[in-house]
Every structure is written in structure tokens, then in C-alpha cells.
């Protein structure tokens, strides 16, 4: 399979993975490839490298997708039949816009935005990037201007954070747990009965009264808006579970990212979320085949001074330690999932930060199986 087949009839592609595995670049290459195939695609990135952002013309922080000028994409031999749009997510602004949209009047929106609890929530707190990324995805999906949305998930160490963090923050915004504590007649109090009173005083004793009153003010301001958060959470949940959505895992072939990819795939399965495939970046392919390492030195001795030949051989030997490692980890990964849904991108000479670099990755993601085998063979030839 290739990405084109994995994303057939899909409207949303979520690229998930642990940090440092090339998620942003892969998301951009996928979006470019799908646009080349004729779709109108928007890629939502969180924090692209400056040079990649510049390459895509993403200098302006508009928080809305903007079309990547076709001229920027005309560097390679890839014909782009569709349209590529891109945006950089601004979490704080997305959060503010969300509040503005659901507030009953502008005055209330301003009050909320000035609230200390809200300010903290919308910036420093972990989970706000994840929540706003999904909120943006949902908004763009509702607007329906694109054939496909590609979401680059926020940079976290742990891919699962993307699934867990928004839920935590949403649970807070819905205010269920807190309200149960705050209202003497609330559901929580009824459930807990008289036992809740010492709990409440204990809570005050531990947290300090001001924090409680700040939170109370915050939730009073939110008022009925908490219902919107619940509704939205449900809609987002539905969007992520939709058959037109696909989760693509991005990983490298080192042990820990592969472990994490396996966990993530299991988690998707357990949660009934649609799994598309795995992109494994920076693969060190076996270049030796069935030849003995000493043959390398012998072959080099004919064209290089002996001492230099030794260092080239050492380099080759070190490379092959990684090739064996990658092969071992990929075998482990493919035993856990459908082998056809595993796409390997080799270790490239350079970091990718321009359209040409995206095209180099694109070849491996969008090639047919036969073409891909040829590309790998070419590495060895």
C-alpha cells in the first residue's frame, strides 16, 4: 500500500507519534502528495521548523490555512493537480476564538479572556495545544472547504498524550467534577450526602479559598457555555472515530519510538479509532546483503589509500549496526500489524526543510510497491 491508498475516501488524517521522529515533515509530505494527486488539502502544523515554514510561505501567523503558492511547489518534477494549503496553529488564539464563538455576547467573552484561571488554562497548561489542535480540526471540518485535512499533532514525548490530554481539559471545562463540589444541592452533594461537607472544607483547607473562588467565578462566567464544551467534545470524538478519519503513526526505527508506535496502535484498536498505517522514518536499510563485511575493505583497498579505506569500512560497519537494529525493530513492529501498512523512508543525508526535501520523502510514501522496491534497490546499487 501507499499513502494514496491508505487515505482513499478519507477526509481527515491525523499524524501521531512521539517527539523527534519527523512528524511535521511527514505531515507536510503527505499533504503535498495528496494535493499532487488532485485533492484540495490543508495541513495544520503546530510548530514547524522555521525553514520549512518559510519554504511553505507560512511566515504570517494567521491561524487560518493559506494556500501555498503553486510556484513554490514547482521545484521538482511533481505536478500538483490539486491545491496545498497550510497553517501554523496558534493555541492561545484558537482558544480565544473558541470562547468568542460560543460566548453569548462579546462582553462575556472579554471577561472570560481576562479571567486568571482562563489565562493560565489557555497558555501554560499542558493539554491546551492538544485541545486547540483538535478544536481547529473540528472547525475546519465543519467549514468543509477542503477534501482532506492533515493534522500534525503537538510535540510531546508520548504520542498517547494527544488522545488523553484534551479529554482531561474538556472534563475540567465541562466543570462536572468541580460543580459537584461547589453546589450544595449539586449532583455530587446528593451522591456523597452529608459526607461531602467535610470534603468541601478539606478542599478549601488544602487549596486555599481564593483558588476556589477564582474557579467559581470562572465557571460562573462560563455558565451555559460548559454545555457547548460537552457538545463539542462529543462532536470531536465522533470526528476522530469517523470512518472518513485515519490515524497515521509516524516513528523512527529506534527501539523506543517503535515500542511507542506499537502501544499507540494497540490503543487505537482498543478505543475503536481508525488506524491507517505507520510511516517509519530514518530507516537504515541493509546495504550489505549477503556479502561479508571484509569484502567491503577489500573492494575499497583498490581505490583508496589503506588508512582511508579503514575509516570508510568503520563507517560502514557502524551504519550496519543501525541497519541490524532497525531491521530487528521493524520485524517486531510488522508482527503487530498488517505489514502492508508499514511504509519505510530511508535515512536521508540531510534534515528536510524545503519542498525538494519533501519530494524526497514523498517518493517513498506515494510509490507503488514495485516502485518502492526499486528505490530501495537503488540505495544498494
Amino acid at each position: 500500500m501507499n499513502v494514496l491508498e491508505m487515505l482513499e475516501a478519507k477526509r481527515v488524517c491525523v499524524c501521531a507519534g512521539s517527539g523527534g521522529v519527523g512528524k511535521t515533515t511527514t505531515s507536510a509530505a503527505i499533504a503535498l502528495g495528496m494535493a499532487a494527486a488532485g485533492a484540495k488539502v490543508a495541513v495544520v502544523t503546530i510548530d514547524p521548523a522555521n525553514r520549512l515554514a518559510n519554504a511553505l510561505g507560512l511566515e504570517a501567523l494567521e491561524n487560518e490555512p493559506r494556500r501555498v503558492e503553486p510556484a513554490r511547489l514547482a521545484t521538482g518534477d511533481l505536478e500538483v493537480k490539486g491545491e496545498l494549503w497550510a497553517m501554523m496553529l496558534d493555541p492561545k488564539r484558537t482558544f480565544d476564538e473558541l470562547i468568542e464563538r460560543i460566548a453569548p455576547d462579546p462582553g462575556r467573552a472579554e471577561e472570560i479572556k481576562a479571567n486568571r484561571v482562563y489565562r493560565e488554562l489557555s497558555t501554560a497548561v499542558s493539554g491546551s495545544q492538544e485541545l486547540t489542535a483538535i478544536a481547529k480540526l473540528h472547525e475546519l471540518d465543519q467549514e468543509g472547504h477542503f477534501d482532506l485535512l492533515v493534522l500534525d499533532t503537538p510535540p510531546s514525548r508520548n504520542a498517547l498524550e494527544f488522545l488523553d490530554a484534551p479529554g482531561r481539559l474538556n472534563a475540567f471545562l465541562e466543570g462536572r467534577a468541580l460543580k459537584a463540589f461547589m453546589r450544595p444541592t449539586g449532583v455530587g452533594m446528593r451522591v456523597l450526602g452529608r459526607g461531602a461537607l467535610p470534603l468541601l472544607s478539606g478542599l478549601r483547607r488544602i487549596t486555599g479559598i481564593d483558588l476556589i473562588s477564582d474557579l467559581t467565578v470562572f465557571f460562573q462566567l462560563l455558565g451555559d457555555m460548559t454545555k457547548d464544551f460537552s457538545q463539542r467534545a462529543a462532536q470531536v470524538e465522533a470526528l476522530l472515530r469517523a470512518p472518513t478519519t485515519s490515524f497515521l503513526l509516524v516513528t523512527s526505527a529506534a527501539r523506543e519510538p517503535i515500542d511507542e508506535a506499537i502501544w499507540f496502535a494497540e490503543r487505537l484498536h482498543a478505543d475503536g479509532l481508525p488506524f491507517g498505517g505507520v510511516v517509519v522514518n530514518r530507516v537504515h536499510h541493509d546495504l550489505l546483503g549477503n556479502r561479508a563485511p571484509r569484502e567491503v575493505r577489500r573492494a575499497l583497498a583498490r581505490v583508496l589509500p589503506p588508512e582511508l579505506a579503514v575509516r570508510v569500512t568503520e563507517n560502514f560497519r557502524d551504519y550496519h549496526v543501525l541497519a541490524r537494529r532497525d531491521d530487528h525493530n521493524l520485524t517486531r513492529l510488522s508482527s503487530q500489524l498488517d505489514e502492508r501498512r508499514l511504509l519505510r523512508v530511508p535515512q536521508l543525508d540531510d534534515d528536510v526543510h524545503d519542498v525538494e526535501g519533501l519530494l524526497r520523502i514523498h517518493r517513498y510514501l506515494f510509490a507503488s510497491e514495485a516502485e518502492r522496491e526499486q528505490l530501495i534497490d537503488d540505495l544498494v546499487a
Binding site: L121, G208, I209, L287, L300, R324, D350
Partner: protein, 315 residues
């Protein structure tokens, strides 16, 4: 200002995937070998450090010894909360801790998980441990979550102190914030691989630390490829590439050229980091191995020890 290992609390920060855990343990080994009773604390239930040493992921949330004088703990916010409540509020605390509603509330409150985690870190670094039977540590090394969240973690106590203003949380937040701001007590290490994004993030991290009046004690450039070839040798390799008829020789030559290109790019990125961040810089080599296990960690800790000795007393 005291040398890094004379501090009691050291945060290891950096973007995801740059090898923070590796650096944290390698530093832990250096400290333990110097006779310091040391613990590496990982946050957010990552269980990476313990995963390196215990096949079953270790006994969760306990202090475990992994080498002479070196311990690890994986900090779970919920567990930290229960411990805190038990100690602070006695029976009411215990009742709160076991209340599912309260747990849901506390865990959902923005920043609370971070505050509880860092509170536990603070507790580990105290000479008089609150934890019953807890022996004091000379050095606590924190394997912090990825940056973006990393500075956030260091800022959390101050934020809570500001938000809560008065009361126990404000007090506790203030105490922890003061500890973090104390350069005699607390140190910060930033780990980056010599690549564009990690370098960018580290530059931003350094700026944010400076804004919060925190010092960056050490920059670790991790996983630096060896520089195997001189530039005139590259010409020789290219020439050999056109001359040889052996496919195997061509493959090996191309691998050499490819790695040389990466090594050169890495050095540009390292220099960029050095130019933009004012802190001591230590380089750790790329480890060509199946995975970074105890043997590799010891190799890295030797490099780190040598680098720290050389630079000690300079700053």
C-alpha cells in the same frame, strides 16, 4: 555559583526524542560514582528510565536502586497527591484522596498534575524527607517532560502561588518556586541533538529561562556523529566513487559521504547553538548500538565526567 554536581536538584530538559533520559541517567552515574546518593526522577509516568533496567517496567512509583548509589523513581501525580493529602490533612486528606470525585477534580484542574509532580520532586530533594522512611538524597535529577511543557513545569509552582494567593497551595507553590529560583540549590540542563528543530527549541528555552531568572547550567549536544573525514579526503572518496567498479565499494563510499554530510550539518547546528545560547556546552557522541543500555550509559557517563571535570571551576 556551585558546580553542577554540588547542587541538590537538577532539571534535565529538552525537546522530545533528544535523549533526556539517557543524559539524566548518565549524569546520575557520574554523581553516584563520586559518592553522591542520587535519584533520577521521571515525570508524567514515562517509565523510560525504569524500562531500561527492569523488563517489566519496574515496580511503579517506588524508589528503586539501579546502580550503586543511584536510584530512580517514576512520579505519578495521583500517587503524589494521595501522599501529600495524607501528610497535610490527616484523615480528611485521606478521605479526600480516596474520593473519586475529588481525584477527578484535582486531576482535571489545569496545572495540578504538574504541581503535584514537581511537589514530589521537591520532597525528594529535602534533607528531611516527608515520606516515611525516606532517606535523603545528595542529588535529585529530574528527567523533565518535553520542552514547551518543560519550562511550564518549572513555572507551575510560581503560577499556583500567584493564582491561589493565600492558603496552603499558595504557600507550598511559593516554597517550591523559591527552591527552583535558588541557583545554589537548583540547576537546569538543556539537551539537544544537533538538528534544526531541537536547536531552535533550545534557543527559545534559554530565552524563557532567562526571562524567569533561571540559569542554564549546561548545554548537552547529544548524539553527535563522529567527524571521520577531512574535506580533502571527501574529494578522494568522490574520485574513488567514479573509479570503482565494485557495487559494494560504491555503497560503502556513498554511506561515508552521506554520513559526512550529516556530520557537517550537525556541526553547523551545534555552532548555531553555541552562538545563540550562553552556557557551557558538552558534546556526547552518537551511540552506534542496538539500544542504549547500561554499557552504553557508562560510556556516556565517562564522556560526561571528563567534560564536567575539564570545565569545572571555569564558570
Amino acid at each position: 555559583m556551585p558546580a553542577l554536581l554540588d547542587k541538590r536538584l537538577v532539571f534535565v530538559t529538552g525537546k522530545g526524542g533528544v535523549g533526556k533520559s539517557t543524559v539524566a541517567i548518565a549524569l546520575g552515574l557520574v554523581a553516584a560514582r563520586r559518592g553522591l546518593r542520587t535519584i533520577v526522577a521521571e515525570l508524567a509516568s514515562q517509565e523510560r528510565v525504569q524500562g531500561l533496567f527492569f523488563d517489566d517496567g519496574g515496580e511503579q512509583f517506588r524508589e528503586l536502586q539501579i546502580a550503586p548509589g543511584l536510584f530512580t523513581i517514576s512520579i505519578d501525580p495521583q500517587q503524589a497527591m494521595e501522599e501529600y493529602l495524607r501528610l497535610k490533612a490527616g484523615t480528611i486528606g485521606q478521605a479526600l484522596g480516596s474520593s473519586r470525585l475529588f481525584q477527578a477534580f484535582a486531576m482535571a484542574t489545569p496545572g495540578m498534575r504538574e504541581l503535584l509532580s514537581i511537589g514530589k520532586v521537591w520532597e525528594l530533594a529535602q534533607l528531611n524527607r516527608r515520606t516515611r522512611g525516606g532517606a535523603p538524597y545528595d542529588l535529585v535529577i529530574v528527567d523533565a517532560p518535553a520542552t514547551g511543557h518543560g519550562v511550564g513545569l518549572l513555572r507551575t509552582p510560581r503560577t499556583f502561588a500567584d493564582i491561589a494567593r493565600v492558603g496552603p497551595i499558595a504557600h507550598q507553590g511559593q516554597t517550591i518556586a523559591d527552591t527552583i529560583a535558588d541557583h545554589e540549590f537548583t540547576g537546569v540542563i538543556a539537551v539537544a541533538t544537533p538538528e534544526e528543530m531541537p536547536v531552535n527549541e533550545t534557543v527559545v528555552l534559554a530565552e524563557e529561562l532567562a526571562r524567569d531568572k533561571l540559569l542554564l547550567d549546561l548545554l548537552v549536544v547529544n548524539a553527535l556523529y563522529p567527524s571521520r573525514f577531512e574535506s580533502d579526503e571527501i574529494d578522494q572518496l568522490n574520485a574513488a566513487l567514479t573509479r570503482t567498479r565494485s557495487a559494494l565499494a560504491r555503497t560503502a563510499l556513498r554511506a561515508a559521504l552521506s554520513e559526512h554530510a550529516r556530520a557537517a550539518t550537525q556541526r553547523e547546528q551545534r555552532d548555531r547553538l553555541r552562538d545563540h545560547v550562553d552556557a557551557r556546552l558538552v558534546e556526547l557522541p552518537y551511540i552506534f548500538a542496538d539500544h542504549v543500555g547500561l554499557h552504553e550509559l557508562e560510556t556516556l557517563s565517562d564522556v560526561l565526567a571528563a567534560a564536567l571535570n575539564v570545565t569545572e571551576g571555569v564558570s
